[in-house]
Symmetry: C2
């Protein structure tokens, strides 16, 4: 992804630029892998937060989409998406009310549970509304966040399947390579463990007489390896559409497939050894700890074509760039481009982004940004 001089000059910085052609190629490559393995692809929209890209994923062959929150799913429904899995325990009366409304607008809405309390509340609301919710049970395969441990999965699945207004059709999990800032293992290994644990969970649940339709796993790092195991029939990667430095450092993406850039203007060069760009912690994500290998040498984003520069200090609107060679060589008014460490949170900071397609730049609103509920 290369922006020429006139394109850089046309940008109102600081901003995010997405290469639509490259995103399309990333979408197609993942779809091809899934198709070849006979596995469904249900991409997570948390990365792009835009119905435009979700539609592109479905048109390329995705079985539906994945959201994290009901408010995010509402935006996608408005954007024409019809088959949505909200892969996040749906808890809270306010959220259940919104899910009931949303279900009416979709061909298929799948909700998530990971506790009996959560399942019972969903069931009661569905009963009162005279409807049923399709649900999947989340299994923990090592992320230690939401998801029940393997040892209690079958008991909980049985209890859920006894609730009349819920239809338990699947199990799902999330496994990444990066926990608490530390990449702990390689993608193949993680995917093998993920597949094995999901197979065990499905088999334990089958032992209670419950036949599951959907076994879903696979993040951007583990997805491509996981679908080859044949132990899941759906993967839900998100970041693969644009990629970022994190995925590159994990060995599952390469720089030429990174379809996202920041552009920023140098606003101040008070001394030779540092300069300031027009974006800080309100523009660049900070959700990767700086002192964590392998990011320690890049800072909060990698400055393209200027390996001697580091963005490793920020205030709200100030990105302070230092030189490891004594002089930054930057000048006031210069526009630089940067590659984000984490694209999902980078896009979520923006109200709108620039799309670059057929060499033409245009603005697009990030419709689902900040959809937290």
């Amino acid at each position: 992804m290369i922006l020429d001089k006139s394109q850089l000059a046309a940008l109102e910085t600081p901003c995010v630029v997405l290469d639509v052609g490259l995103a399309r190629r990333n979408i197609e490559a993942m779809q091809k892998l899934a198709d070849a393995a006979g596995c469904r692809l249900r991409p997570h929209v948390k990365t792009h937060k835009m119905p435009l890209f979700a539609r592109m994923q479905v048109e390329a062959g995705a079985a539906g989409i994945t959201c994290a929150k009901v408010s995010e799913a509402e935006v996608m429904a408005l954007g024409g998406l019809e088959d949505i899995f909200i892969a996040y325990p749906l808890v809270g009366a306010f959220r259940i009310r919104r899910a009931l409304e949303l279900a009416k607008k979709l061909k298929r809405l799948i909700l998530a549970v990971d506790s009996l309390a959560g399942a019972e509340a969903l069931n009661a609301a569905a009963a009162e509304a005279g409807t049923r919710f399709e649900v999947r049970l989340e299994i923990d395969t090592g992320a230690k966040r939401t998801g029940v441990p393997l040892e209690t999965a079958a008991d909980l699945a049985l209890a859920i399947s006894n609730l009349k207004n819920l239809e338990l059709t699947g199990i799902y999990t999330f496994k990444s390579l990066n926990y608490q800032g530390k990449p702990t293992e390689d993608a193949e290994l993680a995917a093998r463990e993920e597949g094995d644990l999901m197979e065990q969970a499905a088999s334990a649940i089958a032992g209670r007489g419950i036949i599951l339709k959907d076994i879903s796993g696979g993040s951007s790092p583990t997805g491509p390896a996981l679908l080859k195991t044949g132990k899941v029939n759906e993967i839900r990667p998100g970041t693969y559409i644009f990629n970022d430095l994190m995925l590159c450092s994990e060995g599952v993406a390469s720089p030429e497939n990174v379809a996202v850039r920041f552009a920023a203007t140098v606003v101040s060069c008070p001394r030779d050894d540092y300069a300031v760009i027009d974006g800080g912690t309100k523009c660049f994500p900070t959700d990767i700890a700086l002192n964590t290998a392998p990011f320690q040498y890049t800072g909060y984003a990698r400055i393209e074509g200027k390996d001697h520069l580091r963005l490793d200090r920020m205030n709200e609107e100030h990105g302070i760039i230092r030189s490891v060679e004594g002089k930054t060589g930057l000048s006031v008014g210069e526009v630089i481009t940067l590659i984000p460490i984490h694209v999902c949170t980078a896009i979520n900071m923006q109200n709108s982004v620039y799309l670059l397609e057929n060499n033409v730049l245009r603005r697009e609103k990030v419709e689902a940004r900040g959809m937290l509920v």
Copy 2:
């Protein structure tokens, strides 16, 4: 600030709640300090990002407001604010175009410069438009970001004052107590240094025959001490309107004056020793390094009334709370409240917030959130 059970139950979480009455008291307290010292108060709107609160500050006696970006100032102008200082070097043709339009709508617009290149571009644009820009020169008093060093300030001021379409009326600075995550000094000491350096800068500039009208400094931590020095005639604090854990830890705010809370719902309790709330790095700011004293014991936010709990791991939509006592004691569906470490970035993550006023909750859009240009 206390939310009762029925108020907590009315919230769609995760969310930010602001106590309007308490904010008003914080506004009045700072105004009183400024008035008593005969110093103007020009609050920074970066903290609240809402015209509603900016108007409240002006109605309480503020001389005008401060913004960081031209897009933020545009929102404030639409909201009825008429006297705005954009305290950030105004660099970039796109930004200058917007500033020219903005100036037509305001009684007073003050721009910032910290380089000759920046000043010349502003001057040329103003000349072409047949107008003049009022500008202030930024001085570095230790933040090492934007702002010229003291030793070159007078030369630059002279060069700027020779530009026909700029009117140099003041100097300004920003000094906080927290650089690179380390609180390095106390507020009184920092304010004294800030005042001394600004006095030296003004005097060096006066030596070139330039009489400045406005000497502006003072953040929330240094402002109250700085105005007592008599060495500035304007302060620009922002965070004081709501306060946060950072200001409390710096000894310049107390917990009873913190007018902001997060509310979050517990969505998952898979094991006794951890639980998951419905907000992560897309909701809670991460711009304070976790391993930095004095924040290391609180995590990314302090959980109210539950001192055994820590929010110190997050994914995009997951806040993973661990117990230092073995058991969290949390249950699925429970709503908890948290005090943010940094309120400015906390509010900037939200599309809207709840306002609590006279015991009534209502929604308010964060109009200038994500206004980065």
